[in-house]
Symmetry: D3
Subunit: 251 residues, 6 copies
């Protein structure tokens, strides 16, 4: 990425507030209750939602459900191969952090108290990684989750009492001093500030995470990044709804 | 599967010596030196070959290369979700066994002494599992390997001195007393005998693994299974060659 | 905590924008290059900064230094005893997340390129936990770090070229619908929204982490929480500076 | 081993189809329900069968028994000392593979459905390793198992309904182009092909495992190796029966 | 430490049979049922006793209680920073040994059969380490335990039926050929013999552990060390009693 | 064991100061530099000493040698089967403690400074456990070590400069109020006090470890146990010397 003259240029001719193309293919995994293959530019994540007849120990007998999330990358999802986490015996700190983020984000969309004693196990496996894998995971997993609940409850109708709201996520950052939306890996590596936002369909925040990778940021920059994330997520929420409508249509 | 009257019926109307449809999509992963998405019926494995500038300690300074293989299943590749191996801290015995099998099989095709000091890291990640995942992994990984070596050596020509032979694999078994080729998961679960064969393009055996799951088998049955595997692998080897020819054609 | 009439009451008669009393005792550990025992209300964290003559592999020979952070709680720091992490074989996801946060926060204050090839190992051990342990850790660790660098460089003068800025942290949240500063454990458990902020002495953001524990929050609430954090951190930064001035005075 | 002129020479003057001397000492461990110290040439394995009043979770309440097997080598069983597996935290891939092989082989001999809810825990500990430790383990463990079941059921009579068949194993291989039976460690290291066979007393196959260590093998070679294994195992089965007859005699 | 002329000199002007100053601060941890911060010279250990409503599996339903102990050092308790044990995945051999010693010692003081089905979890965390951390842990943990039982049973009166006896510990050793009491770290590093004794208030031995670090010791030396330990422990037992009396007084 | 009238009876008619029969078979493992199978009553331990051309990191380049020890039990060495330690991922606290004891004891006999840069790896594997396995391990390992050093240095002559002294060990205890020598498992389970002593050929103490398993012991009892251990170890030292003399004789 280069910053020539007064302008700013991103690969693919994107403007600072452009998303990369978002594609969502539903029912990407034959056996899962719900699944989706999401693409955000070259980032691709296979998301599934499995409904399991068990709850964690702290919920046994409480008459409600639970949702957990796991995240992993194939070793060669990245530019250079990374070591498989099982070979070092445990998820890295980064993986642990992302799994917790995905889980919290999706739980905010589900009415756990209205579920029976089941656990929805969400799996997000990154097939190809070009930046924004955690936010793509949340966006894709929400759709897989909606399919799983629809199919499981009474075929194709997402029961409102189970799914309180929709949820989507996006990354924003400061690159070469400019606030930009939806960073790819090259932009992410050079970013001064890196933020991830998760928001609901009703326009409220679920998660806000910002890190000054290279230098601290001002209150004004923070405010601009918040605005950028809001408009980006609005567009992603629309794509989710369109895809789910089309999926329901044929039946 | 049922066995009515004198006949024998397999799902999809297969005869005992029929393979399931084999599909191979090359360059399925953008960043890998070589990659392939192989489908054998509903089984789907994403295979990649990464060339890394290092060798294991026992080969440092020996002036040759090495090849390792890793195998994993996505948690929801299967009918019911299985636990991620990283969460139990180490590969299962089954995974260890399969990884060793894939590694040995592919090493038999490569002329390691003619490689420079690099390690070819083969990754086989099962996206969907409907039986025969280890043999599909070997068949798909061979093609990913051939692409990686071709691209790496001098673009699109697989150098003979690096790749001694081709390699493919298939499963056979005894189901309801009958020897059958290429078992799917339902057949595999009910099989009395389960065998995996790995063979070279020159018609020789690399690996033979047979297990009496339900009851021991006779020398005559063993001989019939060997024959079935030979004809199955011949057809798979042809598919591999055709796919590689087409991949090379455009350049 | 209760919410009677139009008002809002916090334990100790705190108003929503009041910090709990902050105490910092320097040189709390005899052997460490720098150390501090920080108290924020009933939360107490023992922080040390150790200077070690080594750098991680990725920095060997690069002529610069590094900083790492580790965080742990004594088993009985909490209301009920929690299991020692060594007995489950690895840090929990929560611990991994906090360690990464502390490390990133402190690295933003240090001029790593101006350090020789040393690693500053920061340890934050929670002796007593009553909410806000991660933010107290950052605030206390910064002071321990400043002492270590002062003592190590040329006795009692914090060299500016090594320490670019100061750093402090605080938690804010939404409790019973009201935005409050510096939550204790009881408030934290009931909070609808929980945020942690890390800022520099020059008034810029290093880390922003917000989570809707119970229900998503609006842009307006987010803005109010940011303001509350800014004023809280300003006061904490002053306490840090005063403590460091007094420590330097006698020599 | 050398290959002079038209002939072929093995250590101890063995012909290609000769077994090494097999010795079996029963009741080698005072406390085990059944035990045997088996020697195959310089290979020595201590095998025990323990009957435990528990079944694995998947069999609880199913009214049947189970059998598991574990395998290990003393660190100095080998020419040079090998590291104890406990110190690397888990069984190696090789150990996992061998344990699974021994377990499957012995389960094929036992009528698990006729056992009460017990687990027979088979332990094979290699005291001295000179090739063929996995096949010696299977052969020895079968005898330990027969003793345990005899002693446990009604003193010295092996109840036919519990033990369906006997089981023994042997290794074969291609060395210097020649098919040979029962390889020692020196032969094994130089072998082009290495196979392990497990067969029942009724002459049927339980396990067939062949690996082209140096070069792939032809269908004709495979057929010769199968024949060699059959005659070898027949002789070993006789030794097992003789030893068990003598053990029963005194009572 | 130096040994000049006929005399012997220890840091702080101690004679060979002098203890370092012992300080015990009760209720050092707000949430624990019982706690104490013990100082022996520069060694400082935070001890807590937590009463948990569970017993280990082997005692379930037996109508009695249990006591376990855990021991750890903060990374920078020592002169140079030591690695956190959680990062190597398990307690070191040294830690395991010390935990077992503390547990056995304290169990000898408690009437486990008279406890209800609870586990007293004792935690000893070394804040600063200057020799004798395991013996200080035992001495301090006993007092924490007495407070926990007093507070738990019926406020401030230690019930005799629960606490059979008191327990304290001390280290002795041979330094420069001379038997000395209560070694600090510098003395310990140079000691020829290192012993730890645990005794009861009634003057009997609970644990005796002696190791010839540099050279074996005679029966006569052993006898002198035993005597030195007896007098040292007597004095420590008195301090424990005084501290407990004062703690009880105000109520 | 029973205690009738004024007398005291031990299994096998032993008096309180009788050892169980001690047998030592040298060269019990074909490949080890030195090895011994020691039997003390029904306790049997296979000990080997391996000489490895490496030293631990802290001794590299120091021009001296080192000695380490490992200890394990076969799962069915005991009355009921115990779980293999590799399956729980690490040595138990008990194992860690015993390994450290054996290592320290043997290091006291070897002149490590006179060794070249080698590590002597001692392995003690308990084949059968009937009490006193750690002391039998030390006694047996010393003989294996002497053989290894003799064979390695200049054939059959134990070089005095390498082996400073001999070392042997025994257990004593208080059973039914009486001090007894060399407890078997049944006695050990019922013992009030359990002690292990390690002594040199020159009559000095290397290790003293005593634990009040059931009730604390008096200074007088301690003195009686010390005497009993001294006479027991003297007899064991003689057996070691006789066995080594006979081993050397033929050559």
């Amino acid at each position: 990425m280069t910053n020539r003259g007064g302008g700013f240029s991103r690969s693919g001719g994107r403007s600072p507030s452009d998303l990369r193309p978002v594609t969502i293919e539903l029912d990407a995994m034959k056996f899962a209750e719900g699944s989706a293959l999401i693409g955000c530019g070259d980032t691709r994540v296979l998301c599934s939602a499995s409904i399991e007849r068990r709850v964690p120990p702290f919920l046994v007998g409480k008459g409600q459900g639970w949702l957990t999330a796991e995240y992993a990358m194939l070793p060669r999802a990245t530019l250079t191969r990374s070591r498989r986490e099982v070979s070092r015996g445990r998820p890295s700190g980064r993986t642990a952090e992302i799994q917790r983020l995905i889980g919290r984000s999706l739980r905010s969309a589900v009415n756990l108290k209205k579920l029976p004693e089941v656990t929805i196990a969400v799996d997000c496996d990154v097939i190809q990684a070009d930046g924004g894998t955690r936010t793509a995971s949340i966006t894709g997993a929400y759709v897989a989750l909606a399919c799983a609940l629809a199919g499981w409850a009474d075929r194709k109708t997402v029961p409102e009492r189970l799914l309180k709201d929709s949820v989507a996520a996006v990354s924003v950052g400061v690159v070469d001093g400019e606030a930009v939306l939806d960073l790819n890996a090259a932009e992410d590596n050079g970013a001064e500030v890196d933020m991830n936002f998760v928001m609901t369909g009703s326009g409220r925040f679920v998660e806000v995470q910002g890190t000054a990778e290279k230098q601290p940021f001002s209150a004004e920059q923070l405010s601009r990044l918040i605005g950028l994330a809001q408009t980006g997520i609005e567009r992603i929420l629309e794509i989710q709804q369109r895809v789910l409508r089309e999926w329901r249509a044929p039946s």
